[in-house]
Amino acid sequence: MLKVDNQRCDLCGLCVSVCPVNALEMFEKYVEVDQGKCTACTKCTRICPVRALSLNEERGQDA
């Protein structure tokens, strides 16, 4: 499951731009994750400039 640490997240929107399955959406004050769509590819966790995203169970990987 992808978790967003709202204390750390700065709302920059970068994670949305790399998500290949459109599982993320920016709101004015938070990022929303559609867990049903997320494939746990790790792209967003790797790009976030402040490491606000984490996956607590590894599934597939997609370079």
């Binding site: 920059c12 731009s17 792209k43 966790t45 400039p49």
Partner: protein, 391 residues
């Protein structure tokens, strides 16, 4: 008051959306611009530097929004040797983007554009038609549109509604962090770029002075390296080491599309511009000038389409072609240069700085720097020659 329908609906109130609005509105065309944030112009996730030429060509510049003017460029190598370049043809401004965007919003409003803030567009297409579903001031609304312009920045999802995939690859993405520092002692007429694999792999550190001993200091890390090096940590380290006496007044994370612009920029009843269309200079990460340029081109095209009663893809292709023929073409070259730069290491930068250390700034040219640097990498010479030959 939000109406049930508009000729043109623009999603996003950054430089791209605002300039599109200014250029498409007139007495016979109704335009709505939706911005999800509370205010136009904030938060600022940008170093705010842009070229004077581009600003004058594509937008209206409120003098109040200009913080400083630069014509000197300082490139600092990992070992801190540096090259300075002076060029009046590359003169630029560091803006106050909040003031800049506010003045653009005023101008759009004067032209009759209705601007809605706290207006989050969730979708912009329904059964092939441009229908905007927007949550405005806490309530859901459905608005019909003749044509939608997506200017929704790096976080863009709207183009995906119209079948255009805007997903960025890791290699074409830079993870950034920036601080605005005061009590910083840097010359006002010089923008600085520091290179170092340790601090900003695949990217660089920028120092853009804003006057009154204030500057935007930030860095970008290419997506290939952003997992091992966290932008925020790297910047803190950089500032501690190089500018320990400064005070931070603002900070922000951000993302840059170090890509070549999307090939497909239009569909039936739809245009995408700015960061949402990856219209950034992949080498520098600059996107204000291109957002303004694309806003102008797209706004004019949208206006023409509405007046002609034809918003089909083939009509809107005029914009796509114009973009790719002009700035899009330059940016494809910049993308090739970025790809070449990803192969340059710290030693290459040190050698380059050493070579130009004593050259007077007026005699240093970007093309000379590039070709000299790449001489050390024979495999890259062909790539770069192609860039300068315009292939």
């Amino acid at each position: 008051m939000l109406k049930d329908s508009y000729d043109i609906a623009i999603v996003g109130g950054g430089p791209a959306g605002l300039n599109a609005a200014i250029n498409c509105a007139d007495d016979n065309i109704s335009v709505a611009l939706f911005e999800k944030d509370r205010e136009i112009g904030v938060p600022v996730r940008c170093a705010e530097g842009t070229s004077e030429e581009a600003l004058e060509k594509y937008a209206f510049v409120d003098q109040d929004a200009i913080c400083s003017t630069f014509n000197r460029f300082k490139f600092v190598a990992p070992d801190k040797k540096f090259v300075e370049m002076e060029s009046n043809s590359m003169r630029g401004f560091v803006l106050d983007r909040k003031k800049f965007e506010r003045s653009m919003a005023r101008k759009a409003a004067e032209k009759g554009v209705q601007i809605f803030t706290r207006a989050h567009v969730r979708r912009a297409q329904d059964k092939g038609k441009p229908v905007v579903k927007v949550n405005y001031a806490g309530q859901d609304h459905t608005v019909q549109a003749g044509l939608v312009i997506a200017a929704d920045g790096i976080e863009s999802r709207i183009a995906r509604d119209f079948g255009i995939d805007t997903t960025l690859s890791m290699r074409d993405t830079d993870a950034c962090y920036q601080m605005t520092l005061t009590n910083i002692d840097v010359p006002e007429d010089t923008v600085q770029f520091w290179f170092s694999e340790q601090i900003a792999p695949g990217g660089y550190v920028w120092i853009f002075p804003k006057g009154s001993k204030t500057a935007n200091v930030g860095l970008g890390i290419n997506g290939l390296y952003s997992e091992e090096k966290l932008a925020v940590d790297m910047l803190e380290e950089f500032v501690k080491e190089n500018f320990p006496e400064t005070t931070m007044v603002n900070s922000a994370a951000g993302g840059v599309a170090a890509a070549s612009s999307l090939k497909q920029l239009v569909n039936d009843n739809f245009i995408v511009i700015g960061d949402a269309a990856h219209m950034t200079n992949a080498l520098t990460g600059g996107g204000i000038a291109s957002a303004l340029a694309a806003g102008k081109m797209a706004g004019e095209q949208a206006r023409e389409a509405i007046l002609a009663g034809d918003t089909s893809q083939s009509m809107l292709k005029g914009f796509e072609k114009e973009w790719h023929r002009t700035i899009g073409k330059d940016y494809r070259r910049m993308y090739r240069l970025k790809e070449a730069m990803l192969k340059i290491n710290d030693q290459d930068f040190n050698k380059l700085a050493e070579k130009f250390e004593n050259t007077p700034p007026e005699e240093v040219k970007i093309s000379k720097l590039m070709t000299t640097m790449l001489k050390r990498k024979p495999s890259l010479i062909i790539d770069v020659t192609k860039v300068f030959a315009g292939l």
